[in-house]
Each structure stands twice: as structure tokens, then as C-alpha cells.
């Protein structure tokens, strides 16, 4: 959380993660080169670079796509989510090296523009097996570029969290394009059951994790509600841990009811930064702290502590026989609500 924009907001944790990313990428490239030159010593350096960085980008993309659902299924993965953006930008650079060298080797040495050559050198667009697979990789690279270029908080703040999130959900389109790029390209020529099986296993893992997380979320959203004079029954006080929250669905909104210092308070569950789940965070220094990037809000009014200006909606609570009831009508963002004491 910062007041002004910096190119990269590093702290000791982020520096540590970034070192791990850089060293892992370097190690992968070195091992790939050693294996290639051991089994195929006449391989050219251009081909080595194309294959090493292409496969690296695919491995990284799988890790990136796994982090989101893993964090929703198990909060022990949340610290990795905190650094996912740097991993994404690093993956884009790996994909860019792959795409750049491929463009140079296959399309830059002719007498037509490389982009024209990319789209026109193979016009078999009606065939599945002979489809110009490089076009698919190029389109995926454009999406990854748009995502990397807008990954900074400056764009997040100016595009709005909703638009920014929709833009970055294009990573799923890029993922499908990349799968098609590999299956219609390399795998048509390198018919190794090992590499094909590896990517199929990766796809099953990623789609399985996303579906598991989606159905877990759906279960949370489908909790039945009981009404009492317009107030909705949530749970008993004992069901909420101290300094933690219970997430409850009201119409289309999720609400996080926090228990802290002998008090209860309810705020909207969606963080203003990147839409993180506030109810999965905890109270730190008296503030609700988003588990994704550490944005903070005061539980009694949903406002970020000064000088920050983010605000979320608040809700009225009522306690009757140790059972918590909530007024389903959200108050204006940042509205002060008297906490309920228990």
C-alpha cells in the first residue's frame, strides 16, 4: 500500500521472491542448454534459445495460473499470490525472447515484412493440423504484453479495479491460444508422448484447480438465509475466530463480519485495490488487512486509515441471544457504524 507511484515497490519479502524467480529462470535455461547439447550437439543456438525460453514461459504460466485457485483453496499459498505480478512480468519477458527469436529466425530474413510473413507464409487457415500455429503464439504474446504493460498500480487505479481485472482475465484466452500454439506446432513434429503428456497433465491440473476453487466459492455463495424482521441471521459469535471474519453472502454481495477486541463489525468483502477477499484477511494493528496486497481498512467505517482514501461499504449488525444478525442494506462506502459489543 503506497500513496505515490513507484516503478517497483520492493520490500524484503518481494526482493527474496524476485531473487528466487531470477535464479530459477536462469537455472532452467542452463539445464535446458546442457541437456540439449548433450543429446543433440549440433543444435543451433537460435533453436536452443527458442525452445528453452518457450518451454520456460509455459512452465511459468502454469505456475502463475495455479497460484490463484491454490490461494482460494488454502490460505497458506497467499504469500505467493502477493508476488504473482512480478512472476507474470518475468514470464512475459521469457515469452518475448521466444517470440522475438522465432520471428527473426523464421520471418525476418525474407523480402517481406516479418509480421506480414507471419500471417501469410502459411495460409492453411482451414486446416486444423496444418493451421499456422505461429499466429496463435503471436496473438497470445500480444495479450501477455497488454497485461505486463498494465500490471502497474498506476493503470489499476486509472482503469478501475473492475476494468483492470477484466483485462487481466484475458490470461485465460492467452493460455488457450498457447496450448493450441504448442499442440498445432511443436507437437505435430515432435511426437514425444512425454512432452505431450506433460502438457496434458498441466492442463488437467490447472483446470481442475480452477474448477475446484470455483465450486468452493459457489458453495459459500449458496448458503441459505433466515430472516427476522428484515434482519438476516448469520451465525453465532463463537463461530468467528478472534481478529478474523466470517464471509456471508447477501444478494450478489459478500460481506465480511469481523470479530475483534470484544466487538463485531461488518464491511463489504471486496478490496478496492484488486478485488481481494477482505474476509480472508485478519485484523492487524486494529485494521482489516487484505490478504492479497496488505491494503487496510478500519472495521468500524470501512475507510483506509489516513492519508489513504480507499473506502468500502459498511453494514449494521445486531446481536440477539449470541446470534449475529445483519441488515442486508449496505450503507454508503466509509459510513461510520457503531460496532456491536459482545
Amino acid at each position: 500500500m503506497a500513496l505515490d507511484y513507484k516503478l517497483v515497490i520492493w520490500n524484503s519479502f518481494k526482493k527474496q521472491y524476485d531473487k528466487i524467480i531470477a535464479v530459477s529462470m536462469l537455472l532452467y535455461i542452463v539445464v535446458f542448454a546442457i541437456v540439449t547439447f548433450t543429446f543433440n550437439p549440433e543444435s543451433s543456438i537460435e533453436t536452443l534459445i527458442i525452445r528453452a525460453f518457450g518451454s520456460l514461459a509455459i512452465v511459468m504460466l502454469h505456475i502463475i495460473l495455479a497460484i490463484g485457485p491454490l490461494s482460494r483453496l488454502n490460505d497458506q499459498f497467499l504469500p505467493i499470490l502477493y508476488n504473482r505480478r512480478h512472476l507474470g512480468v518475468s514470464m512475459f519477458f521469457a515469452a518475448l525472447v521466444h517470440g522475438g527469436f522465432s520471428m527473426f529466425q523464421f520471418h525476418a530474413l525474407g523480402d517481406v515484412h516479418p509480421i506480414y510473413s507471419l500471417f501469410a507464409s502459411n495460409m492453411d487457415y482451414n486446416s486444423l493440423i496444418n493451421f499456422p500455429f505461429q499466429v496463435l503464439g503471436f496473438l497470445a504474446l500480444l495479450i501477455l504484453f497488454a497485461m505486463a504493460a498494465t500490471s502497474h498500480d498506476f493503470f489499476l487505479a486509472n482503469l478501475s479495479a473492475r476494468v483492470w481485472k477484466r483485462l487481466h482475465m484475458l490470461v485465460y484466452v492467452a493460455y488457450v491460444l498457447i496450448i493450441a500454439h504448442v499442440f498445432l506446432g511443436t507437437f505435430q513434429q515432435e511426437t514425444s508422448p512425454f512432452t505431450i503428456g506433460f502438457l496434458i497433465l498441466g492442463f488437467i491440473t490447472i483446470s481442475g484447480l480452477h474448477l475446484a476453487a470455483a465450486f468452493k466459492e459457489r458453495k459459500t455463495d449458496s448458503n441459505k438465509t433466515e430472516e427476522d424482521e428484515g434482519w438476516i441471521k448469520v451465525c453465532t459469535v463463537d463461530e468467528i475466530e478472534n481478529d478474523r471474519a466470517k464471509v456471508f453472502k447477501l444478494a450478489n454481495d459478500r460481506v465480511a463480519i469481523f470479530k475483534y477486541d470484544g466487538k463485531l463489525a461488518a464491511i463489504h468483502n471486496v478490496c478496492k485495490h484488486q478485488g481481494g477477499p477482505l474476509g480472508e484477511g485478519k485484523i492487524i494493528d486494529g485494521c482489516v488487512t487484505c490478504p492479497w496486497h496488505g491494503y487496510q481498512y478500519l472495521p468500524n467505517n470501512g475507510q483506509s486509515p489516513p492519508p489513504y482514501t480507499e473506502k468500502v461499504a459498511t453494514y449494521q449488525l445486531r446481536l440477539k441471544d449470541a446470534i449475529i444478525y445483519i441488515n442486508p442494506n449496505a450503507l454508503e462506502e466509509g459510513t461510520e457504524v457503531e460496532p456491536v459489543y459482545f
Binding site: 543433440n40 543444435s43 492453411d124 482475465m169 499442440f183 483446470s207 470455483a214
Partner: protein, 133 residues
Amino acid sequence: MDASQRKVHRIIWMSVAIVVPLFILFSIKDLHFNTAEKKSSPVETASQELVLKTAENEFMKTILYEDHVEIILKSPLKNASSIVYTADTTGKPLKIIGQITASGIYNFDIQSAPEGIALYDGIKQTEITKILF
């Protein structure tokens, strides 16, 4: 994420989980995984089996045996992708039997004796060379 974004996520992944496996199935159903590609000494092979035909050009020498064809690639090809096809009497590619990379000796299993062998660039979709028996 808000409710609509969660719903969009769920719909996207349910669609992907259905469409992508179908796509993968159709894209690999005609691939030949069981073609054994192995390198061995030509002397060793020749001493054990009957040679049916041989042919040679500037790129390669091919030796046809009853159940496999041996290709001796004389020097590395410039093409990034070199797919080996059986060919008809005109040199037209018929069926993929494997691929070659560095110079050396390659052996590919075959079902029946082909009229020729064609090397094809899988990326540029162009013929590299062909050889007729």
C-alpha cells in the same frame, strides 16, 4: 472478486475444461507415437538384414529394409523442422514416419515398402528434399 467476476471465472473454466480436451484429442489423434526412431551403426544393421533398395542424393543416403528404412543424413539441415514422410512414385509425401534433427543415422519403422522418402519443413510447409528408390 465480486459475484459477477466469480461467475465469469466459473463459466470460463467450465468452457475451457470442455473445449480444450476436445481440441487436444483432434490435434493428436493422427500422430504416430509408436514409430521407433533409433540410431545404430549401419554396418551392424547391414550385417543382420536384407537390403531391398538404396538411393542417395546430396543430403542423404537411404537404405530400405523389409520392416524399416535407414536414413543417413550427411550434414545438418538448415530447416528448424524436418519431418520424414514416405512418398509415392512422384515424390509426393504420403505418411509421416518421424523426424530428423542432427546429421547421423536414423531408422524408422515402416508397414510396407515406400516408393520414396520425402523430407518436409513442418513450419514453412515446404519440401526440403525427396529421394526415389
